[in-house]
């Protein structure tokens, strides 16, 4: 009797898991199938489950056609998310280290100020930030796309937490060996916090890769747009769902997804880091 009950429970459990997984996987699969089809055939009844009548026309149009600067968008996204992540790691670990280990007047108040910026909804500072970037002449430029995204309060908070729990002996022995203040940071601290930097890197890269509104308002030149902006813009080129949008959308997340498959644990840690540590 008990065994029957467990059997039914297990079945119910797997039904729930499979149905919800289907709700995630099937739309992605349908997107993949549609990406090989002509725009006029995308909306067929019943929906096509296998791309047997499709071809690579949409993909070829994206890369070699003149309508979309898809290759450029992809490159821009890579440059912007990559450099933004690299700079964030450097800038936030420097600040995180100072807040974790060094003494200076105004330390607490500055830390509180930094943390409180996390409470401000991004829409509130969106327009003023745009005005500043415009004044600096950074619209339609990598500077404008990258620099404002670097000051991650969350990054400072996270790295400060990680650095605080490191044993102090490391720095003390380095100091005895004649290591200077910057030497301690770059030769001792920075390498040790590598795993935490990896976590922050994933968190920041994933967020930045998908960022829409900021690059949308500061770029008017198609050559400077990122993938989300480009794809969002494709919706106005024609119907709501063209074969090209499907192909572009599929290409926009598949590289990240493949990287994820190789570093699953790290990704999961990266995305949940804030919640678990905080």
């Amino acid at each position: 009797m008990v065994r029957d009950k467990i059997g039914i429970l297990a079945i119910v459990k797997y039904i729930v898991l499979v149905v919800i997984s289907g709700g995630i996987v099937i739309p992605i699969w349908l997107l993949f199938v549609s990406s090989f089809r002509q725009t006029t055939n995308v909306m067929t009844y019943p929906p096509k489950l296998w791309p047997d009548d499709g071809d690579f026309a949409n993909y070829i149009e994206l890369f070699f056609g003149t309508t979309f600067s898809f290759g450029r968008w992809f490159l821009n996204s890579l440059i912007v998310a990559g450099l933004s992540t690299g700079l964030t790691l450097l800038v936030c670990s420097l600040a995180g280290y100072a807040f974790a280990r060094r003494e200076f007047p105004g330390k607490n108040i500055m830390f509180v100020l930094i943390i409180s910026t996390m409470m401000v909804p991004s829409i509130v500072s969106l327009i003023p930030s745009y005005l500043i970037v415009d004044k600096l002449g950074w619209t339609n430029s990598y500077l404008g796309l990258i620099i404002p995204t670097v000051a991650s309060a969350f990054g400072v908070f996270l790295l400060r937490q990680f650095i605080q729990v490191l044993p102090k002996e490391l720095e003390e022995s380095a100091k005895l060996d004649g290591c200077g203040d910057y030497g301690i940071f770059f030769r001792i601290i920075f390498p040790i916090i590598g795993p935490s930097l990896g976590v922050l890197a994933i968190f920041h890269f994933v967020g930045n890769w998908g960022s829409l509104i900021w690059p949308l308002i500061i770029t008017t030149d198609a050559q400077m747009q990122t993938l989300p902006v480009g794809i969002a813009g494709m919706k106005t080129y024609g119907s709501n769902t063209s074969g090209e949008i499907m192909a572009a959308t599929f290409l926009s997340f598949i590289p990240l997804f493949i990287v994820f498959l190789f570093a699953r644990e790290k990704f999961i840690e990266g995305v949940t880091a804030g919640a678990v540590k905080g």
Partner: protein
């Protein structure tokens, strides 16, 4: 220069790069938005801003019905998305809390919407929810008449809700899985020896032990849900007839599309106060809940 002063200067040099960027792109925008809320003008003609005192705020309150609909929409989003999303997230976490090969596959699947950008998720769901799309086809198989997700104010809000849940809910699943896997094994072993049923285990042991994570998840999602606008931008553009506009989207529209920069700033300030109030109330609740 004495050693202490030198050490302090070096400390400042460590925070300098961050502070420079934060001052220009976090603190300064905040001051600008406060300043702008007292002015009237357009984005194209910033040199001719006119000081109007509290007129923008007066305007908001005098024409409250113009803005309340966005407020109600935001409430609708919060009331629909938060419970559905959280219950889904928690259920999935409980179902795959043990590490195993099968569960690793489900983890991979549930993680995919987190990697997919909101723009991409929006394109995917715009296709799925289309009048001629696969969902209506599926519903028709069960004899359910086709739904026009983008045709009226309620359905378009539900559409945005579906997008937010599809893209966002499993994020919390991973927070809850992490919390569940942090529970010391002896707690669970003791329960097993006592012979508790699966339901008792969940209700009396697991959920109370991850209460803090759940509260945190609810606080996070509440703060996020009042700020949604990417999903609206990509899926409905705020329509039809502004029926799916959230407060954040309203601010975007008033400032950039209607080009009323002062009014947008005033709305921003009111919105900020509202978000702070919600956060404050939740923090209070969180504190009183955890002190025992």
């Amino acid at each position: 220069m004495n050693a202490r002063l030198k050490s302090q200067l070096i400390s400042y040099s460590f925070i300098l790069p961050y502070m420079l960027i934060a001052v220009v792109f976090a603190f300064l925008p905040f001051l600008i938005v406060i300043m702008l809320s007292f002015y009237q003008g357009t984005l194209l003609d910033l040199n001719n801003l006119k000081f109007v005192g509290l007129d923008n705020f007066k305007k908001v309150f005098m024409n409250a019905d113009l803005y309340l609909s966005a407020f109600y929409n935001s409430l609708f989003y919060a009331i629909v998305i938060i419970p559905v999303g959280q219950i889904t997230a928690l259920t999935l976490a409980l179902l795959i809390r043990r590490k195993s090969r099968t569960n690793a596959i489900f983890e991979t699947v549930f993680f995919s919407p987190i990697i997919i950008s909101m723009t991409a998720a929006g394109v995917i769901l715009a296709y799925v929810l289309d009048k001629m799309g696969p969902l209506n086809y599926l519903l028709a198989l069960f004899g359910i008449p086709e739904i026009n997700w983008f045709g009226d104010k309620i359905m378009s809000k539900l559409g945005v809700g579906i997008l937010e849940i599809w893209k966002g809910a499993t994020f919390y699943t991973f927070i809850y899985i992490a919390a569940l896997r942090n529970i010391p094994a002896d707690y669970l072993d003791a329960a097993k020896i006592d012979g508790v049923t699966w339901w008792q285990e969940i209700w009396h042991i697991l959920l109370p032990l991850i209460k803090n994570a759940i509260l945190l998840g609810v606080v996070m999602t509440t703060i996020f849900m009042f700020q949604i606008y990417d999903s609206i931008y990509i899926l409905t553009g705020g329509g039809p007839l502004r029926g799916s506009e959230s407060i954040a989207f309203l601010i975007y529209r008033v400032t950039l599309l209607d080009d009323q920069i002062g009014l947008g700033a005033a709305l921003s300030i009111l919105f900020l106060l509202f978000v702070l109030l919600i956060s404050f109330i939740q923090m209070k609740l969180l504190k009183s809940e955890t002190e025992y």
